[in-house]
Amino acid sequence: MHKYLILALCNLLLFSVAAQAKQVTLQASEDHVPGQARYLDNGQAQPAILILHGFSATHHYPTVQALQDYFNLSGYTTLAPTLSLQIPLRSQPVQCNSLHTHTLQQDIAEVSAWIGWLEQQGHNQIILIGHSSGSQTLLEAMIPHAPQSVKALILTSLFYLSGDELGSLESEIQLAQDLLKQGQNAPRKFNFLFCQSDYLATPESYLSYLSITRARVIETINQLNIPSYSLMGSADTRYNQVGETWLNELNTSQTELRIIKGANHFFTGEHEGQLHDQVEAIINQIILK
């Protein structure tokens, strides 16, 4: 508790020196719609931290924003982009029944563009932090090679997107694949993660994310050429679907697994601080290396 009080006081002291938030936009390419990000520039003395939100969320998501604010106060330059999901300057979370035409590849491209943008801002040491599906996207974006400026990848609440245990239907996948083969990419409702029966997406979009399977995640971790750290909440309800063996699998992978006891998928409540402490400890560890 004393630790948090000191942290709060430090935050207050640093508040006056913390960078002011700036909204920046970026179009990954002409095929992409512009996206936007919250950028807090504290110079290049410390590694810049890029924080990516989870599925359907934005950089305003509390878990993401709290991390950005924390590390902003800690003196890090932070960038929290919002994946456009093919919505120009998207600022609102998308719903299951929103029209999903975006693809994992587009997301990866946008992530890469934001890393490039940071590099253009003079940051040659970048630490990536992902939350939930944001972790998967960052993981995919680092394959086959992570940019040189990216020094480490911190993955929080890392899971996967496709699997029978997650409700994925082989028949749907097959149908989507068939439709796509037939050149019919008209949106329809699929079962996807928690969007059971109402995930309105084009087959292309749907199938692009289904590529992130349980094995694919472990595989990409193991393929990383930069250190990766995984922070998992022990009380995440996803274990109901994926089983706690997922932690074992992670633990046996090349990522450094850290488990915050009692934390849920979003590290809310008292576990938010623990998340910050753990992430900061990891960053300090990375810096010391």
């Binding site: 936009t25 719609v33 512009p34 093919q86 919505i87 120009p88 300057l89 998207r90 600022s91 609102q92 998308v94 719903q95 029944n97 929103s98 029209l99 035409t101 008209a186 949106p187 329809r188 409702k189 309105l200 084009t202």
Partner: protein, 743 residues
């Protein structure tokens, strides 16, 4: 007399007025209630209007906010950026989103050129659409498509997130306007189900107020209250009418009908009283009315009895009032009635009329001499004698103390004279000695007579003519029945001459034209002379003599005024010394003047002349006899002052010897009838001489008037007269000339 109004009409009027007032008040209440109801309705209408348009404003703001959120919605921007799957998104996402409200009929996105986005989607069968293919310039308007489609169409531009000045599209919503209002509002005043548009098609916002038909919701409490008031007003009006009818019926039954019945009953009583019919009794509800009718009947009978008694009493009183109680013959009133009746009858039945007057000569003296009982008895006997003497059916009336009258019709002059003579004969032949009256009682009769076909004026003067005739009879020693003749008019013209009347009255009131003629009175022994001043009215062309003067004066009761004028004239003569020095004067004073309280004062101015002049005041014996007590005091006072009193015309009337001893006079003047009687029989001559002797013995001077011859002078001297007066000594002259005899 103020005209009275029937009780029935008063009651009807009262009921009508009362009913009108009550109904007016009732309907006034109704109309006031109606006003309040209207006021409540108006207020509710205003509140409903406020409520409606407040709700519309509020909803418009809400819609605006919703539109703004829509334009900022990521997915709208997504569709404007890539509309390939717009139809899927619109149908499968949009309507399930929080942005699509239940009252939205349609929400659509338009391109920047205002073309509907859905129209770009190929091969899609579009359902019936509320929103137009192209947006128009109105950002808010109504589209009314009866019977069920009342759309509010709103739209808002969508701006680019990268370049906010750039319009990249539009969002438009078709809203079920009434569902929108119903969704977000609760109306307390507005009758929401009634709300509708009064026109169809396109309605701009500026037309909204006129296009909306609305009304206030009916207030159940107010409506119920108003129903109660209306019911009350109707019931109250019916109650008033019923009550009025009941009250009217009750008053009619209890008061009006009985009043009319009683009125008819009283009317019947009055008619029955004249017709001697039996009364018809009415029946009444109230015992009191029955009793009242009974009491009225009893009262009516009592009134009839009293009326009968009164009638009898009136008859009796009428009889008494017209009957002389002493003589039991008709009195003056009865005579006047008979006379006026005769005058009225004369117009239609002209006949001869004799107006007869009977008078007892010297009755006053007889009454005083023998007492009232004897006098009354004399009158009674006179009346009875006259009644017996007159033909049967001919009435006698006592019209004065000793004066009787009778009206004899349809008789000739001779017949009337026979009646008069017979009556007079019966009267004077009556043995009045039975009443211890020693002297002979005489009567005078005056008759005014008018023949047939006379003008009524000639009839009306009969009383005066009878008076004149009576006067003549009185002054005639032998002819005691006098018929009025026209010759009498000459001697009494003063009674009918207006000119003479004016002359005499003017003289009496102003003293104009009065003059005195002086007739000498000679003292036989001393040859001294004094003069009796005799009044005349002197005009340029004529002289009016005492006979005319005193007739008028007596008729108009102006004796006092004339005496005052005469004394004034005499005084002025003395004052102006127009009379010889030391001349003795004698002046006549009427009985009426002598009775005036200022009689002594009248002679006061003469006191200064008593030293040089002998002044004699002559009075008539009648005043002395009738008012001996009253005048004795005055006369004695005058005598003490130095005046001499002379008793004039002694013997012309009734001269009672018993007065002689105590008369407050100094001189007794024998009337000329006594002087002339000295030439009559020896008995009369001796009686006069004895009387003269007694007078002389009593100490009085004795003046004999009417001495016109030497023989009369000698007889007078022989009889004992101390003074003589007459034409033989000297006629009256306007200057006091000494007597020729002496001269």
């Amino acid at each position: 007399m103020k005209r009275s109004i029937s009780a029935k009409y008063v009651l009807i009027g009262f009921m009508v007025v009362a009913l009108s007032l009550l109904l007016t008040a009732n309907f006034g209440l109704y109309f006031e209630g109606q006003k309040i109801q209207q006021s409540v309705h108006d207020t509710a209408q205003i509140e409903a209007q406020k409520e409606l348009f407040s709700a519309i404003d509020r909803n418009f703001k809400s819609i605006d906010q919703q539109l703004k959120k829509l334009t900022e919605w990521d997915e709208v921007h997504q569709q404007l950026n890539q509309s390939s799957y717009y139809y899927y998104w619109r149908d499968q996402r949009l309507k399930d989103s929080e942005y699509f409200k239940p009252y939205y009929i349609e929400l659509d996105i338009y391109q920047a050129d205002k073309l509907k986005l859905s129209h770009l989607v190929k091969d899609q069968q579009l359902a019936a659409e509320a929103l137009p293919k192209h947006l128009n310039s109105q950002s808010r308007y109504f589209l009314i498509q009866p019977p069920h489609h009342d759309y509010l169409i709103v739209s808002h531009a969508v701006y680019s997130r990268q370049d906010p000045s750039q319009v990249i599209g539009h969002v438009a919503i078709a809203i079920d306007f009434f569902e929108l209002l119903a969704q977000d509002n609760q109306f307390y005043y507005l009758d929401f189900p009634y709300l509708h548009f009064n026109r169809s098609g396109f309605i701009g916002m500026h037309q909204l107020k006129d296009a909306l038909e609305y009304r206030a919701i009916s207030n159940p409490v107010s409506d119920h209250l108003w129903n109660l008031i209306e019911g009350f007003v109707v019931k109250f009006a019916l109650i008033i009418l019923a009550t009025t009818l009941i009250v009217f019926g009750f008053i009619k039954l209890i008061f009006l009908d009985p009043l009319q019945k009683l009125s008819l009953f009283v009317k019947g009583l009055r008619s029955q009283a004249h017709a001697n019919q039996t009364e018809v009794q009415a029946s009444f509800v109230l015992e009191e009315h029955q009793n009242l009718q009974k009491q009225l009947s009893e009262y009516h009978h009592a009134l009839l009895d009293a009326q009968a008694q009164l009638s009898q009493q009136n008859q009796k009183l009428w009889q008494i009032s017209r009957t002389d109680p002493l003589t039991e013959v008709g009195n003056r009133r009865a005579f006047d009635d008979a006379w006026h009746a005769l005058l009225q009858q004369y117009g239609s039945q002209p006949t001869t009329i004799a107006y007869m007057l009977f008078d007892c000569d010297h009755f006053k003296a007889l009454n005083d001499t023998y007492g009232h009982q004897v006098g009354d008895e004399l009158i009674k006997i006179s009346a009875q004698t006259l009644q017996r003497s007159f033909p049967a059916g001919q009435n006698i009336y006592r019209i004065g103390g000793d004066e009787f009258a009778s009206l004899v019709v349809d008789k000739t002059v001779d017949e009337v004279e026979q009646i008069a003579q017979k009556a007079l004969s019966d009267l004077i032949s009556y043995p009045f000695v039975q009443l211890d009256i020693k002297e002979k009682v005489s009567f005078s009769v005056g008759v005014g007579y008018a023949g047939h076909n006379q003008a009524i004026e000639n009839i009306e003067v009969l009383p005066r003519q009878a008076d004149i005739a009576m006067y003549k009879a009185k002054h005639s020693p032998h002819n005691k029945v006098h018929f009025y003749q026209h010759g009498h008019d000459t001697s009494n013209q003063s009674l009918v001459s207006n000119k003479r009347l004016n002359q005499v009255l003017t003289a009496a009131y102003t003293g104009q034209n009065i003059c005195l003629h002086y007739q000498p009175i000679l003292n036989i022994k001393t040859q001294d002379i004094y003069y009796e001043a005799l009044v005349r009215l002197q005009f340029e062309d004529e002289t009016v003599f005492p006979s005319d003067i005193f007739t008028i004066i007596a008729h108009h009761r102006l004796e006092v005024e004339l005496d005052q004028q005469i004394l004034n004239y005499l005084l002025s003569q003395l004052q102006q010394k127009r009379l010889p020095a030391n001349i003795g004067l004698s002046v006549n004073i009427s009985a009426k003047t002598l009775l005036q309280p200022f009689i002594v004062d009248l002679f006061e101015p003469f006191l200064v002349y008593l030293k040089q002049h002998k002044i004699v005041i002559e009075i008539t014996e009648s005043i002395l006899i009738e008012h001996i007590q009253d005048v004795s005091f005055v006369l004695n006072k005058l005598r003490r002052q130095g005046f001499l009193i002379a008793l004039d015309d002694f013997g012309s009337g009734y001269s009672s010897i018993r007065y002689l001893a105590n008369m407050p006079v100094d001189i007794v003047k024998f009337d000329m009838t006594l002087t002339h009687a000295l030439n009559a029989d020896l008995k009369t001559q001796r009686l006069i001489q004895s009387t003269a002797h007694m007078i002389r013995e009593a100490g009085y001077e004795l003046v004999m008037e009417g001495v016109e011859t030497q023989q009369q002078l000698e007889l007078a001297t022989q009889a004992g007269a101390t003074n003589i007066q007459g034409y033989y000594i000297g006629r009256p002259n306007f200057k006091p000339n000494p007597p020729g005899l002496v001269a």
